[in-house]
Symmetry: C2
Subunit: 373 residues, 2 copies
């Protein structure tokens, strides 16, 4: 196993050891060559979700002074130990990143040209402690085969290759989807996740959501007490609640995904909120007409009005909540995807009950002023 681990790429090796039982790792480490061991310890020391945790230390580099012919000769010796020789980094004597050149460009150049003249000096790099989400956004924008990773003194410490970024993007999307469905992110594939881990990662969220629905129950019980004779309202309660929750889930989904792709900046927030409110009112009015039309088969005119007005308001409030809450989490430095669809729906339910009974109270009170008792 030790010689197998020695043969592996440094980043894949670090991933494997991180997933292994620590007792096994401690038994394995003394059997691995000294140089490899130091490298493993170093890579394992970077925090999860940082650029350092997914980089490899096997990159191709050249000193700043060489010619193209010397460069190609040096790359021939580096190739067996590099994950890629297509992106080559030019370093000064203290290993600071000075430039970048692609093998494609090197092959096309005249052999005697100094590499320093050909290299691109505006190198886009990432810091070793940078979040992998930002690394993925940079790679997606610039179409790199690899991106260099530097420390705070701009010294090259590793590279992150396109294949690792693809894995990270898939992993981020999966974890985000799971959070949006109110499941704490799984470490492994669904089918390889043990039963108890899965039950726990779903259970904690379900319990939290249950507590939120205790709130809805309490509000409902309180309002029912003060509005005897309003039993018909119960028939349309699921309709009013669901409309708000659904509209809120839509907004939250759009905002969270857009934030994850890095499409929104804090200065856009106000504009987004206004836009969502207008969307909410438009959608709310449409649903109000349909909901009231359905209600009119079962109840009288003023009751129909109560359903219509409530649906419109609840949809508008749901949209604003679904927009505001993820943006708020983002501002607080938390993951906006924590605002899952079920959580938005649960919070929206409480609001829906309050709105519904207030509207009923207002409409039916003013109606009774016109109708002969």
């Amino acid at each position: 196993l030790a010689s197998l681990v020695e043969e592996m790429a440094p980043d894949d090796r670090a991933d494997l050891l991180e997933r292994m039982d620590s007792a096994h790792v401690e038994r394995l480490m003394p059997l691995i060559a000294q140089a490899e061991r130091a490298d493993i310890r170093k890579l394992l020391s970077y925090p999860d979700h940082s650029a350092g945790s997914i980089m490899t230390t096997e990159y191709a580099s050249l000193p700043v002074g060489v010619s193209v012919a010397e460069a190609i000769a040096q790359l021939r010796t580096q190739a067996p130990n590099s994950e890629t020789i297509y992106s080559i980094y030019i370093l000064d004597d203290s290993r600071r990143l000075r430039g970048f050149i692609s093998l494609q460009k090197l092959i096309l150049a005249r052999p005697e040209t100094p590499v320093g003249e050909l290299m691109n000096k505006d190198v886009i790099s990432v810091r070793v402690d940078e979040d992998v989400d930002l690394v993925a956004q940079k790679m997606a924008r610039f179409d790199f085969i690899a991106v260099p990773v530097v420390d705070e003194q701009n010294r090259l410490v590793g590279i992150i290759t396109h294949d690792d970024v693809l894995d990270v993007v898939q992993e981020i999307a999966t974890q985000e989807a799971q959070m949006m469905g109110a499941v704490a992110p799984l470490e492994n594939a669904y089918l390889s996740t043990p039963f108890l881990e899965l039950a726990w990662k779903r259970g904690i969220w379900l319990v939290l959501l249950l507590v939120a629905s205790f709130g809805t129950s309490s509000v409902l019980k309180h309002h029912e007490g003060i509005t005897p004779g309003f039993e018909w309202m119960v028939w349309f309660l699921p309709l009013v609640m669901a409309s708000g929750g659904n509209a809120g889930s839509q907004s939250a989904t759009l905002i969270i995904r857009s934030l994850a792709l890095g499409e929104m900046r804090p200065r856009d927030y106000a504009r987004i909120l206004v836009r969502e409110l207008l969307t909410g009112l438009t959608l709310g009015m449409t649903l109000a007409v349909l909901g009231a039309a359905f209600a009119s088969f079962s109840v009288a005119r003023y009751e129909t009005l109560v359903v219509g007005i409530s649906v419109c308001l609840v949809v508008a409030f749901g949209t604003v909540n679904g927009t505001l809450l993820p943006l708020l989490l983002k501002r607080m430095g938390l993951d906006p995807a924590l605002m899952s669809n079920p959580l938005i729906a649960s919070l929206s339910d409480i609001l829906a009950v309050v709105v519904y009974y207030r509207v009923a109270d207002a409409v039916l009170t003013s109606a009774s002023q016109f109708v002969v008792p």
Copy 2:
């Protein structure tokens, strides 16, 4: 604009023209050089979401007979017109794909070696009509810089590079997230989507979900009529409904994501269903105890029992629905992500009302046999 379009990479150019107004495209086309024009027409003819629609025709290829030295010389001339020269494809006289070699391997080899001896003959390729989802899965598994695209006679027609796959993976994840949140997938970024398009893509789903909640209303009205004196049941209605919807959303999210990553095969379906049912029962019992404990503050012992049993059953049913419905869509050849969290919740609501009133009927009827009236 015509000369700008001529300079662009073929795949990016085809993307751009596809997004443009067709009247503009028709005015632009005569101004573009003949060879480029034929290439554009060809690329535009591949259906959306197929490998052909994201590939580029600017690849590096070699005839099967050349030596390493000749190969490198040929690549020097191809380099300016190739999107990448790192993945090189070896073709026979009728352009059929015979092998693959990386530039890294070519650089390390002795100049006089025939390329045919060094090349990898087991080339992994994709068919031009293959779905981009499958292309992304292959790229993620094999860590390629590029994958060759062939027609039905195994002739090379293009390549798909790592950067395009990263874009596709991001796009698929975004569309899936939007569908899961009950929004019809957007063509552009959220902020660049026109107001009316956004309202329409949300509205159609909200109306569909509203119709589902008409069902819940009808069932509720029907049951209320036959159970006078059960007004307390309304207090816990949101709690019972939400528990089922939340558990169902979790299952649907896990199944849909796992299907998207290609982790599940049809032969796993039965096992997954059993596992989800067991998870549902475990979670259902936990929530039942908590829900009943909360209910016990407001209602008597048998009523508490009704809440507990209903929550347990509704959570178990919700889990099964959340598992079964996406798997069913997949079997029917539809996108399982159509089973959005709000849709699962809406369908679960109808079931929850039925279960809740049936359980109440059963428990309270048998209870009245023991209690002196």
